[in-house]
Amino acid sequence: MKCVPVTAIIGLLLLSGMILALSAGKYPLGLSDISQLLTGNPPHDPRLSIVFWQIRMPRMLAALLIGAGLAAAGTTYQGMFRNPLVSPDILGVSAGAGMGASVAILLGLSMLYIQGLAFVGGLLVVALVCVIARFTRRQDPVLSLVLIGIAIGTLCGAMISLIKVLADPYTELPSITFWLLGGLNTITINDLQVAAPLTLLGLLPLWLLRWRMNLLSLPDEEASAMGVNVTRLRVIFIVSATLVTASAVAIAGIIGWVGLVVPHICRIITGANNRQLLPMSMAVGAILLLVTDTLARTVSSVELPLGILTAMIGAPFFLLLLMRRERL
């Protein structure tokens, strides 16, 4: 029975977050302008239409999509790796994407290539991790995946550092740094047109199979004895979560902490059952990123990198949770 008010509160928060994100910003755009724009009336200042439709709206949608996507991927990975300290980039997707993007920036390529190489880099690294895991002789496939992911991720991190050393310190290096810190300031409608279908494609299996996600947090032989094809289910989840994360990273850079912290917050609200946890995580992740991004573009005279803000909000919150709760 307590479900109804919680859902209502989250829905209300989401709605007010969206209104806040659409009305807050450096360009003066009031609520009356917004209602005018939404009803299709031409605004008194033609630039308002650009600000609203080309800048704020895509940015808000991207924050919602990426926040929900990263939180869903984090929830999935924490569940299937039976470890509450896992984040969506545990299998190296962010490191791979970072490497791809850095190479593209080093070569002076356009945004299309930066995003493309980031996306492909993320997917390739996760594929590599899975292939290597298949050839390991360890008994515990989950632990193998995590360890190999950490190793390959570190390797990519080293490659990124190498690229940073090779990059021109006055031109390419700052761009690489900004990219690695993440941010939504460059989002365009075109980015969304490509990233949104990919993200939704990855979210769909996670959503449909979310109850079965519970079974993967049991030891393999138990899940298997309950009739679950553990390997197949795990592959489906890895592919889906990777698709979601890689799409997010490709258009927004590396945004940490959302995928790690949000599932924890939501377990307090809904409990561990992914049937309720996954939708809640997606909603809270969307709200969190929306609010953080709105802060990132309003508190200072220039943009603050989103990755820095999510860490500044996420890390203390996480520590608080660790101290307060006996069990994550």
Partner: protein, 250 residues
Amino acid sequence: MTLVQFANTAIGYPQHPVLQQISFNIEAGEVCCLLGANGCGKTTLIRSLLGRLTLQGGNILLQRRPIRDWRAHELAKWMAYVPQAHDSPFAFSVLDMVLMGRSIHLKTFSSPSAKDRQQALELLENMGIAHLATRQYPSLSGGERQLVLITRALIQQPKLLVMDEPAASLDFGRQITLLKKIRQLKSEGMTLLMSTHHPLHARAIADRVVLLSPLGAQQGSAAAMLTGQKLAALYDVQEADIRHHLGIEI
């Protein structure tokens, strides 16, 4: 009717064989107890029966069909597994934990219905732990967890229940309840295979006892297997100590 047949089975790992030439049968509707010293291969044998370990030789047949030919979802309709009570990294509620056992009866994309929920509550009631339904699984005692895991296996509606030392973490009273429950399940037509460290438990419920030692498997009725002499050999202690310790004539 023979439900499970171990035919000259060798179990273990490629570089590390655990047991070889095991042969015994489990008949439908009987209770079979596995006894053996620590590390003798009881858990390995159970893992092999569950199809989680590749056999190193011979065969395990379920319904005269080799276990390796069974797919996980087919196998789960016949056989449910009760692991030793363990911790869970996530705080699932007891009801959620039990409902996971319904997975084989649900469509791929669906989750448990109100009917499944009702069935789970009835089973919890039946196991005497209905009051735990909303508690978080990790907050339970070892014994309570074990009962939850048994309930979870039962809701799977198997014909064969495989239990790995189900009494290990139960207090004396709960052990007696468990044995009663096993008898009840048997009377309802369930076949059970359980490993145990308690010869007395085996004597109380087993129709068939399998003794596992590095020399292989011996099977027979409880009376034939649970003799002081055989137990002394199995656990590598003096026969007199066995008699003295159990305090009753075996």
